[in-house]
Symmetry: C2
Subunit: 144 residues, 2 copies
DNA sequence: CTTGATATTGAGAATCATATTCAAATAAAG
DNA sequence: CTTTATTTGAATATGATTCTCAATATCAAG
């Protein structure tokens, strides 16, 4: 996966905020392009550790926070109470279908649902900010 | 709020499972009818404490788990990572509109959205189990 | 290439919500 | 009223995440 665009975005963010461009931060960014999405901090920590054995949890958490602020990552608070981080190449919103057996995350968007959600906000006198929708079920593979 | 129906449900549950009908358990049940819904364990603990000063956190958590098992409560994993418990008089499902300023929870259901969610499951080859949808925005009161 | 100012790191300790342990207390069946 | 199994509360443990702080690394300016 080519993540040069996101790398540039991160670099720009760091420069703008007068933050430093460190080896650790780059390693953590790279995990997302190689190891996939929807990773827990622990998964990221273990993955980075393979390339950079000395890294600590604190750095992982700090960098994830930075990546979220930079709009490169999104933090998901899952039902098991553990946060997962998803790499967000674009700014587009999406929701998730999650398999309760294997835990796979599938990203989905349904424009009709989005429209109805807007209606729900309006009907209840709310000014809409964002939403989150998770559909739990059993994926095709697991139901065989 | 009349919670005699739920009380009966809980009593039946306890009897069926050979569990005991204790003062503490009744107090915790009662909180929901007096103090409202979508409470954190801490809020429940503090509320029960007013009537029953000796109660411990352990009992609160244990009882909340029981109430969930009995189908009287539902546990919500919120974005702040803190679980909230909602009293569920009926078995009917609903979603939430949440104000990001005052934190109020409004329960909503949209049959059309529900239908489209089923379609999303099907389209992606998932066997549906449940879902969760949270709409975050600013309520009428707070946007004045 | 040095220097100096500032940001960052990693180890470990702290925190916060929640769960567990265990001896003492209590409910409920006989 | 006794017996037996369950429940309780206090304290301790846990697991995820955050903070502290001294040592280290980055980077701009000389």
């Amino acid at each position: 996966m080519d993540n040069s665009k996101e790398k540039l975005k991160f670099e720009t963010y760091l420069t703008d905020k007068n933050l430093k461009h460190t080896e650790q931060r780059v390693h953590i960014m790279d995990i997302f392009s190689s190891a996939g999405k929807h990773l827990t901090a622990e998964e990221i920590y273990l993955a980075v550790r393979k390339k950079h054995p000395g890294i600590g949890y604190a750095t992982v958490y700090r960098t994830l926070k930075l990546l979220c602020e930079a709009g490169i990552c999104r933090e998901l608070t899952c039902e098991d109470g553990i946060k997962r981080y998803e790499y967000q190449s674009q700014d587009e919103h999406h929701d998730h279908l999650i398999c309760t057996k294997c835990g796979v995350f599938v990203e989905v968007v349904d424009p009709e649902i989005e429209k109805l959600q807007e209606r729900l906000f309006k009907l209840n006198g709310f000014y809409p900010e964002r939403h989150r929708m998770e559909l739990y079920g059993i994926c095709k593979k697991c139901s065989k």
